[in-house]
């Protein structure tokens, strides 16, 4: 009998301190860890390093809330709804340092972190401006020679975030979790982070899940948070769609910035105490 890992969102997010290195599970408009991002913004966290293969609504909310100092990633967007306005504005203003890699480079850095490897070689990014820029600003990337063939390779240092937030369809109380559909770098961030927090749409008793279906096994998981529609207004395959009106409203506010964006945050983030209240205010039945 193990102790249940089920905790409240507030308790799970309390593991993030100012300056922590946080991995976000979202990808553009799907499985963004919106509930966790709102909580971090409300908590007023500052100077976070965010690692994410492709940024999405969760990244933009944290940037807009002034929580981020540095992003290690590979760009991002809200697909056809628009760009990550808050991220782009903060990067151009020099408030956020953005280290831009390719997607595979981020996934491999996390993979190396998860495996405990000292570095991982890769042939992407060779000869690119991405590599030139990273070589100037980062000690985590080196241009090396393959020790066997002598050919150029990129050597990437591992990434081990302090806390990862991952949205899952269902988890058991031990932390075994199922994610339907494509999983981009969700397994990598869950396995590489020192603490992994699952935002679960459903929580079941230990042993209730089919072992064949498990995406993330329990040993990698620190906390399970039951938070229905925790990715809303972004999509979760088979559970709910992205919400077009709300995303359009968000993008309009983020594009305008200033007071318009502050009003959005006041209404939907600072003005509520929980994800349930956010959903209620946004007109969603839970």
């Amino acid at each position: 009998m193990t102790l249940s890992k089920v905790v409240s969102l507030a308790k799970a997010v309390a593991g993030v301190e100012d300056g922590s290195h946080v991995a976000l599970g979202g990808f553009a408009i799907t499985r963004c860890v919106v509930a966790a991002a709102h909580e971090l913004v409300r908590d007023g966290r500052r100077d976070l390093q965010v690692t994410q293969t492709t940024g999405g609504l969760d990244t933009d909310l944290l940037a807009g809330g002034g929580c981020i100092k540095r992003i290690v990633g590979s760009g991002g967007s809200l697909d056809r709804f628009g760009p990550l306005h808050a991220v782009n504005r903060a990067v151009l203003a020099g408030q956020i340092q953005a280290d831009e890699y390719s997607n595979l480079a981020i996934a491999l850095r996390l993979h190396a972190g998860a495996l405990g490897l000292p570095f991982v070689p890769m042939r992407s990014m060779l000869g690119s401006g991405l590599l030139d820029t990273l070589l100037e600003q980062e000690d985590a990337v080196r241009l090396e020679r393959d020790p066997f063939t002598g050919k150029p390779v990129v050597a990437l240092a591992p990434l081990n975030p302090d806390v990862a937030f991952v949205h899952v369809d269902v988890a058991d109380e031990d932390g075994n979790a199922v994610i339907g559909g494509p999983t981009w770098s969700l397994r990598e961030i869950a396995c590489a982070a020192r603490q992994t927090v699952l935002l679960a749409e459903e929580v079941v008793a230990p042993g209730a899940l089919d072992p064949d279906a498990i995406t993330i096994p329990a040993p990698f998981v620190t906390a399970v948070v039951y938070v229905p529609r925790g990715a809303w207004p972004t999509a979760a395959l088979g559970l709910y769609d992205y919400d077009t009106p709300h995303l359009e409203r968000y993008v309009a506010a983020a594009a305008e910035g200033g007071d318009a964006y502050a009003r959005y945050l006041d209404e939907f983030v600072y003005g509520v105490d929980s994800h349930d209240q956010f959903l209620e205010r946004a007109g969603v039945a839970v």
Partner: protein, 243 residues
């Protein structure tokens, strides 16, 4: 025209990494006409994509319906692409240069300000590792550069040298398909292969402010009725990408 011309570049049993929009429509069109054995993969972790539902991006679950297999980036960009099994990548571009190098990160505006765009995503991986790459973009003079403002994705040459010397496998960008023309990218420059119906080669050259060899240009084969019907009634119902 752009979607049809792009689809003609897809052959036989190509394994194709596609992004949202026109690349996806071109690849699905090829699959439904002359290249039924082609396999479409999405960087998010989808293999064997075949959805024709109108979708907003590769993170839109509508794009994953009917897929053959789900996995992650390590599966698609790692095992398939880095492992050498992807024969064709289709990429968009903010700018492309005479070596087929691509900028998808940022452009410097006339007043010197920088405008950021969505960034590499998996595009650099595709340009670095796929056997060959097709660029699909609107034919606007400002998009053709002697040298791109930011080199997100390397083309056929790196610093004027063959890309293999930089350690890159594959050929890089071999063809640029626009709404007006098809341009082959050779190691020694751009060659106008064909112009679409209604276009003059001289006008296309005039709107391409980099050296473009046009002496052998012919007219792009016209879309067939079957191709047009598929695009209008199935692949791009709303005309989001091809209208």
């Amino acid at each position: 025209m752009m979607a049809v011309s792009a689809s003609h570049e897809i052959v036989g049993d190509d394994v194709v990494v596609v992004g949202l929009g026109l690349p996806q429509i071109a690849a699905l069109l090829a699959k439904k006409t002359h290249a039924p054995g082609a396999t479409l993969v999405l960087e998010i972790g989808v293999t064997g994509a075949s959805s024709t539902e109108p979708s907003l991006g590769i993170a839109d679950p509508r794009m994953w319906t009917g897929a053959q297999a789900f996995g992650g980036m390590i599966d698609v960009l790692g095992l398939l692409l880095h492992g050498g099994r992807v024969t064709l990548g289709i990429l968009g571009a903010l700018q492309v240069d005479v070596a087929g190098s691509i900028n998808s990160s940022q452009v410097v505006l006339e007043d010197g300000r920088v405008r950021r765009f969505r960034g590499s995503g998996g595009a650099n991986d595709v340009a670095s590792l796929a056997r060959r790459v097709m660029v699909v973009m609107r034919h606007e003079p400002r998009k053709f550069k002697q040298r791109v403002d930011f080199l997100t994705n390397p083309g056929r040459l790196v610093d004027g040298r063959p890309r293999a010397e930089a350690g890159l496998p594959g050929l890089g960008t071999t063809v640029i398909v626009t709404d007006r023309a098809v341009i082959d990218v050779l190691e020694d420059g751009l060659v106008l292969r064909s112009v679409h119906a209604g276009e003059e080669a001289s006008a296309v050259v005039a709107d391409t402010p980099v050296p473009l060899e046009a002496s052998g240009a012919h007219e792009t084969p016209a879309p067939t009725e079957v191709e047009l019907q598929l695009i209008r009634h199935e692949l791009d119902l709303h005309g989001w990408y091809t209208a």
